[in-house]
C-alpha cells in the first residue's frame, strides 16, 4: 500500500468539501481532497441559494433555531464565506454576483420565478422588471425545456426554436463553445423580426466561457440576454463544479478523484488515515485532521436503511427522526419532511457530537437540522459551513 501524508484531508468533493479545502489551503496547510466522483452540485441550478424561502436571506437566517448549522456559523461568518466564494469564482473566470442581504429572482423552465442569492453572470438579467418584453429561444428536440410554459405565464413574451443539431443540453452547450456555431446562431437570431427587450435561453451558452458567449450575443442584438437553469444534467451546475475544481488544482490541493473511502484508521481518539478504493493497490491517505463533507442521502454521506439512518464513512452518531413512518409526511410539496433534519450533529467548532474522535470536523448537507429542501439553502449552507469547519480545523492544526 502506498501512503501519503497531509495536514488536512477533506472527504467529499461537493461545494462544502471544496470550500473547506480552499480555506485550509489558503492558510498554508497541505491539503488533500478525496471524492468518490463528481458531486451533486452538477445537477443543481448552479446558483447559490443561501435562504430562498424568504426574500432576505440574512433576515430569514436570523429567525432560525440555535441548532441550525447556519446559527453555528453566525451572520458574519456567513457573509465572509460568501465573499470568499465570490473571490474564488472571480479567480476561476466564472464570476458570480449577488447580495446576501437581498435575494434576486431567476426564471425556471416552467415559467415561475425562484429566489436565489448569488448567480453566475449569465443569469444576472433574469430578474426582469414587469412589463418588459421577453423572447425565449428553445432548441429543436430539447427534452426538458418547453417554452410555452414560460410564454403562457408572461404577458409580453414569444418564443422561437433553433436547430442546434443535437437535442441534449450538454450537447448544445458544447456546440456554443465553437465560434462558427455561435456566429451562425447570432445570424439567425438577428433575422428574427420581433420587438424584444430581453432574450432568454435554456442554460446552454457554452461549457467553458459562458460570459463571453452571452456578451457576444448581447452585443450583436443589442438586448440583455440571460439563461434559464434546466433539469439535470445541468450545464450551470457543471460549470460551477469545474470552475471550483480548477481553483483547487491551481492552489495545489491534492485531489483523489473517483475513489471512495473503504476504511478508517484510528489511534485512540485520533483519526490517522483513510484507505481509498482504487483499481490497483489501495492508497492510504494520512492526515493530522479530517473534514467530513460527504453530503446527505443523494451523495451517499448518509444512508437510510429500512429502520435507521447511518453515516457511511466513520459510522458517526446520526440524529434521525424516529421510525420510518415519521421520515416523510404525506405532502410531496411541503419539502418539510422529518428526514430533512437527519444528519450529524456538531458543536460550535463543527466537531461531531458524540463521536469518539477529536480531529474530525463536519460540514455541508450531512449536518443535522439543515432542512435544505424546505428552506432552499443548499449551496449557501455548503459554503458557510465548509469555510467554518475548515477554520476550526485550521485552529486545531496550529
Amino acid at each position: 500500500m502506498s501512503a501519503y501524508g497531509y495536514d488536512a484531508v477533506v472527504i467529499g468533493g461537493g461545494v462544502s468539501g471544496i470550500m473547506a479545502s480552499l480555506t485550509l489551503a489558503s492558510r498554508g496547510f497541505k491539503t488533500a481532497l478525496v471524492s468518490r466522483g463528481d458531486p451533486v452540485c452538477c445537477l443543481s441550478t448552479g446558483c447559490i441559494d443561501v435562504f430562498s424561502h424568504s426574500d432576505e436571506p440574512l433576515g430569514g437566517i436570523r429567525a432560525l433555531l440555535p441548532d441550525h448549522p447556519y446559527s453555528l456559523v453566525g451572520e458574519k461568518g456567513i457573509v465572509d464565506s460568501l465573499s470568499f466564494f465570490l473571490e474564488i469564482m472571480g479567480e476561476a473566470g466564472l464570476p458570480y454576483e449577488g447580495d446576501p442581504g437581498r435575494n434576486r429572482k431567476i426564471l425556471t423552465p416552467i415559467g415561475s420565478t425562484k429566489n436565489t442569492c448569488l448567480v453566475p453572470r449569465t443569469m444576472a438579467h433574469a430578474d426582469m422588471p414587469p412589463g418588459e418584453y421577453l423572447h425565449v429561444i428553445s432548441f429543436q428536440g430539447i427534452k426538458d425545456f418547453f417554452p410555452s410554459y414560460i410564454t403562457s405565464r408572461h404577458r409580453n413574451s414569444t418564443y422561437s426554436v433553433y436547430d442546434a443539431g443535437v437535442p441534449t443540453t450538454l450537447g448544445i452547450a458544447a456546440r456554443f463553445d465553437d465560434a462558427s456555431f455561435l456566429d451562425a446562431f447570432i445570424t439567425w437570431l438577428r433575422g428574427l423580426e420581433i420587438p424584444l427587450d430581453r432574450v432568454a435561453l435554456p442554460a446552454v451558452l457554452g461549457t467553458i466561457d459562458p460570459d463571453s458567449v452571452m456578451e457576444k450575443i448581447s452585443r450583436a442584438i443589442g438586448r440583455k440576454v440571460f439563461e434559464i437553469p434546466t433539469l439535470p444534467p445541468s450545464v450551470p451546475g457543471l460549470r460551477l463544479f469545474r470552475a471550483l475544481k480548477r481553483v483547487m488544482q491551481n492552489r495545489g490541493i491534492h485531489l483523489y478523484w473517483g475513489k471512495g473511502v473503504t476504511s478508517v484508521e484510528c489511534q485512540g481518539r485520533t483519526v490517522e488515515a483513510v484507505t481509498l478504493a482504487t483499481t490497483g493497490r489501495a492508497k492510504r491517505v494520512q492526515g493530522r485532521a479530517f473534514v467530513l463533507a460527504t453530503g446527505s442521502f443523494v451523495s451517499g454521506g448518509l444512508f437510510a436503511g429500512r429502520d435507521s439512518v447511518r453515516e457511511t464513512v466513520f459510522d458517526l452518531p446520526v440524529a434521525a427522526p424516529g421510525e420510518r413512518k415519521d421520515w416523510f409526511n404525506t405532502d410531496f410539496f411541503s419539502g418539510a419532511h422529518g428526514i430533512e433534519r437527519a444528519g450529524v450533529r456538531v458543536d460550535r467548532d463543527f466537531r461531531p457530537v458524540g463521536a469518539k474522535i477529536d480531529n474530525l470536523f463536519a460540514c455541508g448537507s450531512i449536518l443535522a437540522e439543515c432542512e435544505i429542501m424546505s428552506l432552499q439553502c443548499g449551496h449557501g449552507l455548503a459554503v458557510a459551513t465548509g469555510v467554518a469547519a475548515a477554520k476550526s480545523c485550521a485552529q486545531e492544526l496550529s
Partner: protein, 516 residues
C-alpha cells in the same frame, strides 16, 4: 409500439342519450370480460368505467394467473375453477400470459403434514405437481433461499391485467359495443322501481350522458354495494385491503409461493422487468380511502426476503394497495373467506357480480352473461373459452430491440419509451390523461417512477395542443402528489436517494413547493 387498435374508442359520443341492451358498469377484468362475452353472443352493450381500465382491484393485484394450488387446501372449489381457467387463458390470451410456472417452497419449520395435504388436494383438483429437491429448485431459481427444504412445481403464470382488459374490450368495440372510460356513473335511472339506465359524467368534458338499457350489470368490484344501492337494492360484501411492493429487479423467472396455509406476503410474481410481492389482508370499509401503511411494506418485504433473500437488499420502487371484493361471510379472518363468486339478480333490471378473482374473470363473465341472456330469452352459447382474444397480433410486447429503435429521442429512460410512442398515444388514441399514456406505453413505470418523464410527457401533451400549459402544470402537481403516495411507504436505501433527487428537481429547480 403502443397498441394502436383503440383508435376510435375515445371519440366523443355526439348524442347525450344512448340506447342499448346492456350497460356494464366497471372496466376491470370482469366488466371487460362480460363486454367481450356479450359481443360474441351478439348482445349490444355499453361499458362505462370511471377511470382507465383495471382501475380497481384488477390493476392492484399480483398479476398472478393462479394454478389453483394456493387454494387447494382451503378452498377446493376455487382451486378447481382456477386450474380450469388457467388452461383456457393460456390458450386464448397468449400475449397476456407469461407461462412462468410456479414454485411452492417449503422453508425450515414449515409443516410437512401441510405439504402432504397440499399435494393430495392438488391432485384431487386436477392441478399437476412435481416435487423438487432443494438442489433442483435452486437450479431453476438461483436466487431462492438456499436453506429451503424442498419445492413443488405448479402451473402458475404471470398475467398482465391491464392488457387483458384492453384486449377483452377490443373485441367488444370491434363488434359494435361502446366502451366509455373516464365516465363515472352519477345516477341510475329508475322507472317504477326498475333500473332502466345510467347517467354518466364524462370526466374530461364534464358532459352528462344518459345510457338507456334493458339490463344493468354491476361489475364494480369493491364499489358493488354502492352501485347496487344506487339502483335501490344492496350487495353486501366484505372488503379486504391487500398491499404489495415492487422490486426494481426481476429476481425470479418463476412465481414463488410459500408452502404453508395462505398468509401475508407469501407470493412473489415476476412481471416484465420487476417482481411483485404481497400481500396483506386487512378489512376496510371504504374502498376510496385506502393507504399503504409502512408496516405492511415491512411485513411483505420480510416475508418475501425469506423466500428470495435478495428482496431484502434490492431497491423497492413502490408499494400499492387494492381492495378485494369478497363475498360476505361469517368468518372474521378475511383470508378464510371463499374466493368464489356469486351473481345476484336484484329483480329490478340489475345484476351484480360479486367476489371472484382475476384468474376466474372469464368464468365469472360467462355465468353473468348466461343469466342475462336467459332474462332476454335468447339462446346463445358462450364462446369466450374457444376463441383467442382479438388484437393480440398487434401487440409488440416488451422486446428491448423494438424499444431501442427510437433511442435518439427517449422520453422515459427507465422503460425506453420514445417521443414517437408518446405522440402516437396522444394523437391516434386521443388520450387525455397522463395515466392512460403510462398504462399503454409503460412510461414512468421504472425506478424513478415518472420522476423525470412525466414532466416531459406533459410538455409534449401541451405542445400537441391537448392541454394548456396551466392545465399541464396542474396535472403534473396532481401526478407528483399521487405518485408520492405510492412511493412514501417504501422509502429507504437507494430509492430514498432517488426520491430526494426528484424532490430537488420539483421543489428546488422548478420551485413548485408550497412554502415558496
Amino acid at each position: 409500439m403502443v397498441v394502436t387498435f383503440f383508435h376510435d374508442m375515445f371519440h366523443e359520443e355526439s348524442s347525450y342519450m344512448i340506447k342499448t341492451d346492456v350497460v356494464i358498469i366497471g372496466g376491470g377484468a370482469t366488466g371487460c370480460g362480460i363486454a367481450r362475452d356479450l359481443a360474441l353472443r351478439g348482445v349490444h352493450h355499453y361499458l362505462v368505467e370511471k377511470g382507465d381500465f383495471a382501475n380497481g382491484a384488477t390493476g392492484a393485484c399480483h398479476g398472478l394467473l393462479h394454478s389453483g394450488a394456493r387454494y387447494a387446501v382451503t378452498d377446493p372449489e376455487a382451486a378447481r375453477e382456477c386450474i380450469g381457467e388457467n388452461a383456457i387463458l393460456r390458450r386464448i390470451a397468449r400475449k397476456c400470459v407469461e407461462t412462468t410456472g410456479g414454485l411452492f417452497v417449503r422453508l425450515p419449520g414449515d409443516s410437512k403434514r401441510y405439504r402432504d395435504t397440499f399435494l393430495s388436494n392438488c391432485e384431487e383438483a386436477g392441478i399437476s405437481t412435481e416435487v423438487l429437491s432443494a438442489t433442483r429448485a435452486l437450479d431453476l431459481v438461483p436466487e431462492l433461499n438456499p436453506s429451503i427444504e424442498e419445492a413443488v412445481v405448479v402451473p402458475d403464470c404471470s398475467i398482465d391485467p391491464f392488457r387483458l382488459c384492453m384486449l377483452n374490450a377490443f373485441t367488444s368495440r370491434h363488434k359494435g359495443g361502446g366502451i366509455l372510460t373516464h365516465h363515472k356513473v352519477i345516477d341510475i335511472v329508475r322507472e317504477r322501481g326498475r333500473c332502466t339506465g345510467v347517467k354518466v359524467l364524462d370526466r374530461f368534458t364534464s358532459q352528462i350522458k344518459e345510457i338507456r338499457a334493458k339490463i344493468i350489470i354491476n361489475a364494480t368490484g369493491a364499489w358493488g354495494d354502492t352501485l347496487a344501492r344506487m339502483g335501490g337494492s344492496d350487495a353486501p360484501m366484505t372488503l379486504s385491503k391487500g398491499s404489495l411492493i415492487i422490486s426494481n429487479h426481476r429476481l425470479t423467472n418463476m412465481v414463488i409461493n410459500r408452502l404453508r396455509p395462505p398468509s401475508d406476503g407469501d407470493i412473489i410474481v415476476p412481471n416484465e422487468a420487476v417482481c411483485l410481492a404481497g400481500t396483506t389482508s386487512i378489512p376496510v370499509d371504504d374502498p376510496d380511502a385506502i393507504e399503504v401503511d409502512p408496516r405492511e411494506v415491512d411485513l411483505v418485504a420480510t416475508q418475501a426476503e425469506q423466500m428470495l433473500p435478495r428482496f431484502g437488499t434490492t431497491r423497492l420502487i413502490r408499494a400499492y394497495t387494492g381492495v378485494r371484493p369478497l363475498l360476505k361471510a361469517e368468518a372474521s379472518d378475511s383470508r378464510s373467506i371463499s374466493r368464489g363468486f356469486k351473481i345476484i339478480d336484484h329483480k329490478n333490471g340489475m345484476f351484480s357480480i360479486l367476489g371472484g378473482k382475476l384468474s376466474t374473470y372469464r368464468l365469472m363473465a360467462e355465468k353473468t352473461v348466461d343469466a342475462v341472456v336467459e332474462e332476454f330469452g335468447i339462446k346463445a352459447r358462450c364462446k369466450t373459452a374457444d376463441i383467442p382474444l382479438d388484437g393480440q397480433d398487434e401487440l409488440s410486447g416488451y422486446p428491448l430491440s423494438k424499444r431501442l429503435k427510437g433511442i435518439d429521442n427517449i422520453v422515459c429512460e427507465c422503460e425506453l419509451v420514445d417521443r414517437a410512442q408518446v405522440e402516437n398515444a396522444i394523437n391516434s388514441l386521443g388520450i387525455q390523461y397522463i395515466g392512460d399514456i403510462q398504462h399503454r406505453t409503460r412510461l414512468g413505470m421504472g425506478p424513478c417512477q415518472g420522476g423525470f418523464c412525466t414532466y416531459r410527457a406533459l410538455g409534449i401533451m401541451q405542445e400537441t395542443g391537448r392541454l394548456t400549459p396551466d392545465e399541464s402544470i396542474e396535472i403534473l402537481k396532481h401526478f407528483l402528489q399521487r405518485r408520492f403516495r405510492g412511493i412514501r411507504p417504501a422509502l429507504w436505501g437507494d430509492q430514498l436517494r432517488e426520491e430526494q433527487l426528484v424532490e430537488s428537481i420539483y421543489l428546488g429547480i422548478l420551485n413548485m413547493g408550497q412554502r415558496a
